[in-house]
Symmetry: C2
Amino acid sequence: MQNLSNLEEKLGYKFKDKARLTVALTHRSAKNGANNERLEFLGDAVMDLIVGEYLFVKFNSNEGDLSKLRAALVNETSFSKFARFLGIGACLNMSASEEKNGGREKNSLLSDAFEATIGALYLEVGLEKTAKIVTTLLEKIYPKIEFNELVKDYKTSLQEITQAKFGVTPEYRLLGSTGPDHKKSFEMAVFVGGKEFARDIGNSKKEAEQKAAKIAIEILEKN
Amino acid sequence: MQNLSNLEEKLGYKFKDKARLTVALTHRSAKNGANNERLEFLGDAVMDLIVGEYLFVKFNSNEGDLSKLRAALVNETSFSKFARFLGIGACLNMSASEEKNGGREKNSLLSDAFEATIGALYLEVGLEKTAKIVTTLLEKIYPKIEFNELVKDYKTSLQEITQAKFGVTPEYRLLGSTGPDHKKSFEMAVFVGGKEFARDIGNSKKEAEQKAAKIAIEILEKN
C-alpha cells in the first residue's frame, strides 16, 4: 500500500475509491476479479480529449499538425513515461509468470495501467479536475511541447536521403512572410541540387522548413 | 439564418457564440476566413469520450466489445445521420463548385461539420452539458443500442459461408450458463456438419452465438 501512496502523491490526488484504483492497476493475467481493460477503454478516450484540447488551445495550427502533435504525445511509449513517472510498475497486480517475464517494466502493461488509472480518476472527479492533473503531469514529462521537438525531424531525414542518393545537402530559402509581427507565417522552399523540390508555410521558418522537407521526402520516396 | 435556428432547435441548445457556430459549419472550400477543421479535431475527441462513457456505463461488456460498439456508432456514416437529423446540410458554407458537386449531401462533409458543431458546443458549455445533448440525440437516432443490432451479424455471414462451402446450416447448442438470474452469462457452441467449430460466452444466448459464429468464420477463412 506504500506504493499506492507514492502513486497518489506523484499524481497529486488521493483516490476515494481504492477498490477501483486497484482494478485500474490489475493486469488481466492476475485472474482474480476484474482487470483494468474496461477502465483503460475509458481512460484512453479521456486522454485523447484532454491532450487534444490542450494542443487546440496552445497552438493555432491546422488539424493535420494538431493530429501529428497529439499522436506524438498519446501513444504507448509516451504513456509508459507517465506510468514510470507515477511509479505504476511497483503497484501493478499480475500473475507470477507475467511478473517473471518482466511485466512490471513492459511499456504495454505500464501504458494500459496508466490509461486505466486516468479512467478511474475521471469517474471520481470528472473531466475538469482530471484535465488539471493530466496537464500538470504532461508539462512535467514534456517541459518543451513544440512541433519540431515532438514530430519526426524531417530535415534530418531528407538530408540523409539526398546525401545517399545524390551526394548533396538540401538548401532552404525563404520565399516570403505574411501577417503581423506577433503572428507571422513564413513560406520556405527546399532545393536539392539547385532544383526546387517543395515549399510550405509554417508559424516559424523552422516549421515551414520541416513541412517542406516532409513533402520533398514523399516526392523522393515515390521515385 | 432560419436554418441555424432549425439546427439549434433540433439540438435543443441556442449558441451564444454564433461566429464560432458559423466556423463549425464552414467547409475548407469556402476559403473566406476560418474553416471547421480545428473544431472537428476537438469534436471528434469529445464524441469518442461521450459515446465511450455512455457504452461503458450501459454495458458491462469487455473492452473489445465496447470498442466494437463504439466503432459502430462513431464513424462517418453514423455522424452523417446525426448531421441529417440536425439539418446541417442546409447550414453548410462551401464553395460554389463544392455545392455543385453535391457537397450538402456528402457524408464526409456532413460528418465533419457535425463533429465541428459538437466541438463548438463543448467549448461553450463544457463536457457534462454536451454529453446530455449528445446522449439525447444518440437515443433518438439509435432507439435500440444493442450489441447484435449494431455489430456485424456474424450468424448470417457464417450461414452464407457454410451453405456455399458445404451446403449445410450451422447449429447452435447451449453448453451452460453461470451467474445470478439478473446477470447470467451463457456459453454457446456452433456446429457445422455435426462438428463443433467454436464456442464463446456472452450476456445472452444470442450474443454468445454471434461471438462463436465470428470465431467459426475466422477458422473457415483461414482454411
